[in-house]
Amino acid sequence: MSTDDVVTVNGTPRSLAAARPESNALDWLRAIGLTGAKEGCAEGECGACSVLLARPGIEAETEWVALNSCLLPAASLAGQEVVTSEGLGTPADLHPVQSELAVRGGSQCGYCTPGFVCSMAAEFYRPGREDFDHHALSGNLCRCTGYRPIVEAAEALGAPDQADPLLRRTTSAAPAASPTRAEGWIRPAHLAEALEALAEPGAVAVAGSTDLGVEANLRGHRPALRVAIDRLDELRGLVVGEESVQIGAALTLSEVERLLAGRVPLLAEVFPQFASRLIRNGATIGGNLGTGSPIGDLAPALLALDASVVLVSAEGERTVVLADYFTGYRQSVRRSDELIALVRIPRPLAPDVAFHKIAKRRFDDISSVAVAHAIEVREGTVSRAAIGLGGVAATPIRASEAERLLVGASWSPEGVAAAADALADAGTPIDDHRASAAYRRAMLGQSLRRLVASS
């Protein structure tokens, strides 16, 4: 076995040689006999495929991160350490998470259970954990139990035993993202090498693969070459400066959430509502903008924050204001040889912020409408207003007319009425399976009124 294709799974080195170019991590694990992780949806919505990966940590050298294995390219595991439900414990020697779930009736049909076990274990080992954060399970679906026994199992968990091998593993360095190459796959050593690889015909950049993975699984998308950029140091910095906040494009949303620790309050409102923890553990801020989805929840917030993106290519860097970045449905000014290097948010930030996500389900749903407000009210009058919208046009947009009417208006139900009406007319909402156009318009119209009522 060359180091290029060895993965440590449950402590044992396993060869990736049998993985096919289109194989995701789940397919590969199941093909080598580790059938605990299941495919429930193949698009990162159900969490039945959740496994643990050892990743560089924020509060510890290494942290166990739960990820949807159905979205990860199998090739991306090279050199990494994976733990599955089989590796956490055995029927005769259950892991604490497994034991709590088992005795409390946390499994009925059992099919979602290994995924819950892994998501719960990641939270169990989270450094500095006091209470169990329910959001850790926001990406796992159970159709049998109604969740109550699962939540009780989670809440019954104590701290890991000091001798627990997975806890001990967190004190030494995580596996490095060594450069690897496989059929249709490259993990470059540096940004320069990545940019070079991206110039090859049919090459696409892949970070958390939470979007490309869905395209691969559901629509048979088979790019000629995937260039892994998720572990490039050049794309993983975060700086909170006087003038701006700079966020490296390859930081995952979970990492950004923790590194910012509430210092950008609007983003702090978005993160818990953005997909699920399992997705946020993989999805990167650059990837979210890179896909150009009109309903991504981050773009409306970043628009309201007047953010810019820095694009990098072999020819150099350029900065593009986010409002000018999107050009059409899933299209942007970014050329195929360019990468998003970082997102820059200017300071000072507007003090009054809100993120209104309208969806059928509260956890892990796609917005039918998203409205991000960044407003400043001085002595009862709006002095500054930026409103970003998602789900109401082919791209995320700013609600310019509403912003214009809002500045100078008094901060009261009557004062914002004209702006609220203008907001209702923003964009070109459509009827689809998520919501009617009429409801989307109504939600736009309600958003400012709701914000005033709650302030």
Binding site: C41, A102, S138
Partner: protein
């Protein structure tokens, strides 16, 4: 052992990823072939030609299966209206042929290469279109008692309405999966995620032109079923079996979520028109209704589902004069099928919606209107079955009122609502009465096989399947109790058609009643044979013999140590054409009170508290039973509030396509929909005579406790308005609630 809370018998395997499901087994087989369907891109089309040759140019494609390959009957159903390889595509996504490949990728690319020539035909997609076109199929039953004209004449208030409500996707986490192998002498061995192994066996046999004894079906366990694997797995199993027969290699059919959602049947959506009459005291005098279910393209189980809907339109209420007509629409959609409750929820939703809508018109609180109309002992259902134990309904109701502090919370909610223009709370309490047994009397039988080995260990086998409901856990408890052994002495073997034949589907909540009684019968036969052995040993040693000694001696004395148990439910009768009889062994009762909080700006809501008292008789296994109650309740809340099946009803190129065909577009309840405060109590003093150890079935009835959430939403919406009746769509998504609030605010202001 009975009545003791025990974790699921496979819990330790579930949590360690070692519990094997059909596809886990498939992946362990050498030489496995993978199957991928060639599907119709139209809702309705004639197949003019199908050319498999281009598929063979795809590397790794091994075989294309078409109608010409079927040695037996080209049909996947029991009504002979479901061709396995159709010459007319009847819904968007209908499988027309299947491709076998060395890899799933090869099969997928091969399927894309198959050339299909289709002539698109006009399609019927919505219930409204079907009713307008009089597109119906199957029986058109009527349930009638008394004289509705007389009832309306005696009514002081008469209301009429129309209500169309959605079906539901099962979304078992494990999609349909089958794997077939050919064993010695051509014996076909199919492992299948099926609730009905016997029927899977029969359909595989008739497709292959074999006798039943040449086909064995095994179901290790299912990753959820909920009725979706009662009839729907057969065709997929037949494809695997046909592929294995033709290639001599194991063949796996495992649907992706998208394929499962677009190809397999769901809970029926219904359309109802109704007219109801009340007397001065708010007592129902008459109900005249027409229920039209959306059957999809073939009959499947639509007829019995409709029968059960008709038999549950009364729910818990005495309706002296009643006429309900039922019809099954034929539409170009998936063939709708069994789903937890089997039509019962749809019938009951009609009456609960009527009561919720009419209460404000009658000037009566909904909870009072409901209780006032409860059955009392001595009354009978419209189909003539006495409502035994009707007092339990009232007892459970009172228990919920008391423990939920209902009256005080009503007052507190009114005060909250008066203070908060943009946020309203709602509270409601609703009952469930659900008939237990298969409507079709013959299905109410079961078999079991119990082996006692020479070392005293016991192996049991029965005809029921495990889908997470805890049936196997209860069967172990029944066997251990019946034999008087510690449960560790008893082991359970997978469900197989060559162990127990001619089984009924594990359905209708009847798994424990039927199989438990059969297991108990087998155990008792063995114990009976051991009586003289025990006596002999006791005389010889003047001590009660230990079980291993007893068994050892029995063997030496040539006493048979295994037995086949059998059970048939006595006292049932049903005339399906007259819709009369006593089809149910008993009724299961339950009551739930739910409180919600609704945001007036968006229609978004939270379920803040739920109190449930449910009747499971003497619980065999409280942890399992409470799990069924909570899980059923949340699944019902999903159906009524969140889960939104949308088909493309436009005249565009994708007409008939399921628009919500993935987990990202079809949302089932997640952790965030769990009630913040959920309290479940089992009804006390509830022994059920004649059922196994006094227990009652629990699989389906709790789903309908979710009506309380829907009615609480209606209550909260009303608080935004001015006392007018509230029309609420189903599912009551945040958008639907928002429009209901919008209407409430503008009505009668």
């Amino acid at each position: 052992m009975i009545g003791v809370s025990r974790p699921h018998e496979s819990a330790a395997l579930h949590v360690t990823g070692r519990a094997l499901y059909t596809d886990d087994v498939a992946l362990r087989l050498p030489g496995l072939l993978h199957a991928h369907p060639v599907t119709s891109p139209h809702a309705h089309a004639r197949v003019l030609g199908l050319d498999p040759r281009p598929a063979y140019d795809v590397p790794g494609v091994v075989r294309v299966l078409t109608a010409a390959d079927v040695p037996g009957v080209n049909d996947a159903g029991v009504k002979h209206d479901e061709p396995l390889f159709p010459d007319e595509a009847m819904f968007h996504g209908h499988a027309l042929a299947w491709v076998l490949g060395e890899t799933l990728e090869a099969a997928r690319l091969g399927a894309a290469a198959v050339r299909v020539d289709l002539e698109e035909l006009p399609s019927v997609i919505t219930l409204g279109e079907a009713i307008a076109a009089q597109s119906f199929q199957g029986a058109r039953p009527s349930l009638e008692r008394g004289d509705v004209a007389e009832g309306f004449a005696a009514s002081s208030r008469v209301f009429e309405g129309e209500f169309e409500f959605a079906g539901q996707e099962h979304f078992y986490l494990e999609t349909h999966a089958s794997v077939a192998q050919i064993e010695d002498d051509g014996q076909v061995f199919v492992q299948c995620s099926t609730q009905h192994p016997t029927e899977t066996q029969e359909i595989v046999a008739h497709v292959l032109g074999l006798a039943s004894h040449q086909v064995t079906v095994q179901c290790l366990r299912m990753g959820g079923g909920f009725g979706g694997k009662e009839m729907q797995p057969h065709g997929f199993a037949a494809i695997a079996a046909l592929g294995a027969t033709l290639t001599g290699r194991p063949v796996r059919v495992r649907l992706t979520r998208q394929q499962d959602m677009t190809m397999s049947g769901k809970r029926h959506g219904f359309h109802a028109t109704w007219k109801v009459g009340f007397d001065h005291d708010g007592r129902i005098q008459a109900l005249d209704a027409t229920l039209t279910s959306d059957g999809g393209w073939s009959l499947d189980l639509s007829e019995p589902v409709l029968s059960r809907a008709l038999c549950h339109v009364d729910n818990a209420y005495w309706i002296p004069h009643l006429r309900v007509d039922g019809r099954i629409a034929r539409t170009h959609k998936t063939s709708q099928t069994a789903f937890r409750g089997f039509g019962g929820p749809q019938g009951m939703l009609v009456i609960e919606d009527i009561l919720g809508r009419c209460a404000p018109e009658l000037g009566v609180a909904p909870e009072d209107l409901r209780r006032r109309n409860f059955y009392v002992e001595g009354q009978a259902t419209p189909y003539g079955q006495p409502v035994r134990h009707a007092d339990r309904l009232d007892r459970a109701w009172q228990a919920v009122l008391d423990t939920s502090d209902f009256a005080a919370r009503r007052t507190a909610i009114a005060a909250h609502n008066a203070q908060n223009p943009h946020c309203k709370r709602g509270l409601a309490i609703t009952p469930v009465k659900f008939g237990i047994s298969f409507n079709f009397t013959s299905f109410n039988q079961a078999g079991a096989l119990v082996h006692v080995y020479k070392d005293g260990s016991v192996l049991i086998n029965h005809g029921g399947t495990e889908m997470g409901q805890g049936l196997h856990t209860k069967m172990l408890q029944v066997a251990a109790t019946a034999l008087g052994l510690p449960i560790e002495m008893v082991r359970l073997a997978p469900t197989r058609t060559d162990k127990v034949p001619n089984t009924s589907a594990t359905a209708a909540s009847s798994g424990t009643d039927l199989n438990g009684a059969a297991v108990k019968d087998a155990c008792e036969q063995i114990l009976e044979r051991l009586v003289p052995v025990r006596k002999t040993l006791q005389e010889e040693t003047s001590a009660a013999p230990a079980w291993p000694d007893l068994v050892r001696r029995a063997y030496l004395d040539r006493v048979q140590l295994w037995a086949a148990g059998f059970y048939r439910t006595e006292g049932l009768s049903w005339d399906a054409s007259a819709m009369r009889g006593s089809p149910f062994k008993y009724f299961a009762y339950g009551v739930a009170a739910a409180e919600v909080e609704v945001d007036g700006f968006t229609g978004a809501y939270e379920v803040t508290r739920v109190d449930i008292v449910h009747d499971v008789g003497d619980s065999l296994s409280p942890l399992v039973d409470i799990g069924q109650i909570e899980g059923g309740f949340v699944q019902g809340v999903g159906w009524l509030t969140l889960e939104d099946l949308r088909w493309d009803t436009s005249e565009g190129p994708h007409r008939g396509r399921l628009a919500t065909q993935t987990a990202s577009t079809y949302k089932l309840p997640s952790l965030s929909e769990m009630p913040a405060d959920l309290r479940v109590t089992l009804l006390d003093h509830a022994t059920e005579d004649g059922a196994v150890y006094g227990s009652k079935a629990v699989g389906e009835p709790p789903l309908m406790l979710a009506f309380s959430v829907r009615e609480a939403l209606r209550d909260a919406v009303a608080a935004f308005g001015h006392g007018c009746p509230v029309d609420l769509a189903s599912p009551a998504t945040p958008e639907a609630v928002f429009w209901a609030i919008d209407a409430a605010r503008s009505n009668g202001g």
